[in-house]
């Protein structure tokens, strides 16, 4: 039971990261290599914002911190789009991917410059919710992580399926030119994609930071998220959720049963297996392979 909850909690982080990567990929065919950095920077911002609103992180101050972090991350996504990605429209997508690599370097350096590489933890919900007789326990934050992830995915699904903007988004993802001719505002869609992605990344980062410590090295979770997205299929949100769970399960079980050092490499081994067996992922479309 404890194992299952731990896997689900880790999986929810990876799934949220993967969702952001999928959203950006669907909208612009760009793979975001800066996703882990965005998540961890988001978590650091959340941590700093909690000092602005009072350190206790309960009730009203928690709400205020969440609001600041959410607005900040969404705005930052819009900023990334208009400052960087918009200039790269029409250029090969791997150029945009390399720009995200540059962005990743800068964000990681920002953690060093602004937060002096301090190792911090976000102290919410660390209290045990339930302790087992054998010594294992479930903390509040693990359950919160899982619930937040489910709510986020449900919200994204509703948004893409039932709202006008969501339908426009899917249309633009399928064929930007035709969508633009039917008066879909492509700039709006792409900016929205980036802000949604940065928001979900920050959410994942905050949940990750509440369960363990944050440091510049934690940005490696971006690559786990990327693996999760690829396992599920780069253009499938459902795949992102399942991919996140699979990667989390594999990583966690390896760390528990074999060795923690191997666990760091497990996402990449999964990546190699997926790439040689089903490069379009579990739920992805086969044609996508030729579009990048």
């Amino acid at each position: 039971m404890e194992l299952l909850v731990s896997i689900l909690a880790l999986g929810s982080t990876y799934a949220l990261l993967a969702a952001g990567i999928v959203i950006i990929y669907k909208a612009s065919r760009v793979i975001n290599f800066a996703h882990g950095e965005l998540a961890i920077v988001g978590a650091y911002v959340f941590h700093s914002a909690s000092f602005l609103t009072g350190t206790t992180l309960t009730g009203l101050s928690l709400l205020a911190t969440c609001a600041i972090a959410a607005a900040g991350s969404a705005l930052f996504g819009v900023l990334i789009y208009f400052a960087l990605m918009r200039r790269l429209l029409g250029r090969p997508t791997f150029v945009a991917a390399m720009v995200t690599i540059g962005l990743a370097i800068i964000l990681k350096a920002a953690i060093v410059v602004i937060w002096q590489s301090r190792s911090v933890g976000i102290l919410i919900g660390r209290q045990p919710l339930y302790s087992f007789a054998g010594g294992g326990r479930i903390t509040w934050i693990q359950v919160i992580s899982i619930v937040v992830c489910i709510v986020a995915f449900a919200a994204l699904a509703v948004f893409f399926q039932y709202t006008r903007l969501g339908r426009q988004f899917r249309g633009a993802a399928e064929n930007p030119l035709l969508a633009a001719q039917r008066q879909v505002n492509i700039n709006l869609i792409l900016a929205l994609a980036w802000s949604l992605a940065v928001f979900t990344a920050a959410l994942a980062g905050v949940l990750f930071g509440s369960r363990s410590m944050l440091s510049p090295q934690s940005t490696i979770i971006g690559l786990s998220g990327l693996t999760a997205a690829l396992v599920g299929g780069l253009d499938s949100l459902r795949g992102a959720a399942i991919g996140g769970l699979l990667v989390a399960a594999a990583t966690y079980l390896t760390a528990r049963l074999i060795s923690p050092t191997l666990a760091e490499t497990v996402p990449f081994l999964i990546l190699l297996v997926v790439m040689s067996w089903r490069p379009w992922g579990l739920f992805g479309t086969v044609e996508e392979l030729n579009r990048v």
Binding site: F94, G102, I105, I106, A110, L230, M275, P279, L289
Partner: protein, 357 residues
């Protein structure tokens, strides 16, 4: 006797000359003379920087052949360097073999690994290939980490490498290294320039520009893609091997994904698909952190960790800046200046065909 305009080319060999203009030959001769004279006037610190540049040039030329010419995006370059460095460390330290054996053996090991990593390139293009090489990088580094923990004195101490020696003379000191590395780097540059203007280089460019057209033109696409990976990895391994001898210690921690990205940054900044560009980019990116450090030293206050962070950020800024505003890199700036003076007082730009430059 009639003299022919220098712009009228009458044979294929003439279009393919490396240095067609007299002024280009003069520039190359001047640079060579200046480089040879550097040790006479400069201190060990500057020579050390130059040596780092030489090693970087070798690696950057390697990745440019693969990514710039053949168009195969690779994030595995650091692992190729690690393979070269570890092969050298094992051969030189455990088996006591001289560098004359160890360096070629490292290149061969790198080439073999490059061949294996290149196999997925037969299936994937672009970003998918980059992700596969990224995964390969972590797999290789994991194996080497475990190996280092078993072989080295401790898990994180690394393996020491004795200085290379031939007939009783050991290569030590920055000055000796300067000439040795300069010669190797120059040989690599000439090798790459010649490769780039030969059939192989033109086949790579054709594959980069459109692989399907390349195939219909009779190019064996899989063979040349694999050849690009093999040669590129061999050059990276050479850089890793020389780096191991130069720093005298090999640790796996040195060969991170960041290192692979730094090498990618070199060719972005220098110019994709240009050997001269990779030289410029390698020097630029290698010296960038030291230049930033110099600027901070001139400031009146201490920055501490912040300075370190800004040094790192500089490389990211360089990548983004060049991709957005000068996608063809430093070499394009040089070309613009050269064209300006060649055409002066007229101001039109010639449309140059692609190929070796």
């Amino acid at each position: 006797m009639t003299s022919r305009s220098p712009y009228l080319l009458v044979s294929y060999a003439e279009t393919n000359r490396l240095l067609p203009e007299p002024y280009q030959r003069a520039i190359v001769a001047l640079i060579a003379a200046a480089l040879l004279c550097i040790p006479l006037v400069s201190g060990d610190y500057f020579l050390h920087l130059m040596n780092l540049c030489s090693i970087a040039v070798i690696g950057a030329v390697g990745i440019n052949l693969l990514t710039g010419y053949c168009g195969q995006l690779s994030l595995g370059q650091a692992s190729f360097m690690a393979i070269g460095a570890f092969t050298t460390a094992i051969l030189a330290q455990r088996y006591g073999l001289p560098f004359i054996v160890a360096i070629p053996a490292s290149c061969c090991a790198g080439a073999a690994v490059g061949f294996l990593v290149g196999l997925p390139a037969l299936r994937f293009r672009g970003i998918y290939l980059a992700i596969t090489t990224l995964a390969m990088h972590y797999a290789i580094i994991y194996v080497l980490t475990n190996y280092q923990a078993v072989v080295g004195p401790s898990a994180s101490a690394g393996i020491t490498v004795p200085p290379p020696s031939l007939a009783g003379f050991a290569l030590t000191g920055e000055r000796g290294w300067f000439y040795a590395l300069l010669i190797v780097a120059a040989l690599v540059v000439v090798f790459a320039l010649n490769l780039a203007r030969s059939y192989i280089g033109r086949a790579w460019v054709a594959i980069r520009d459109r692989d399907i057209s390349a195939e219909t033109s009779g190019i064996n696409v899989p063979r040349y893609k694999l050849l690009a990976f093999t040669i590129s990895a061999a050059l990276a391994a050479l850089a890793g091997s020389l780096g191991a001898y130069f720093t005298t210690v090999v640790t796996v921690e040195e060969y991170t994904l960041e290192l692979a990205i730094v090498y990618l940054a070199m060719i972005i900044v220098g110019g994709m698909g240009s050997v001269t560009g990779s030289v410029l980019g390698a020097v630029f990116i290698t010296l960038l952190p030291f230049a930033v450090e110099r600027v901070f030293e001139a400031l009146p206050f201490e920055l501490g960790t912040t300075a370190f962070g800004i040094q790192e950020a500089a490389i990211g800024v360089a990548i983004i800046g060049f991709l957005l505003f000068e996608p063809d890199g430093l070499i394009e700036i040089y070309r613009r200046i050269a064209t300006y003076f060649e055409r002066w007082p007229f101001r039109y730009r010639e449309i140059k065909p692609g190929g070796a430059r």
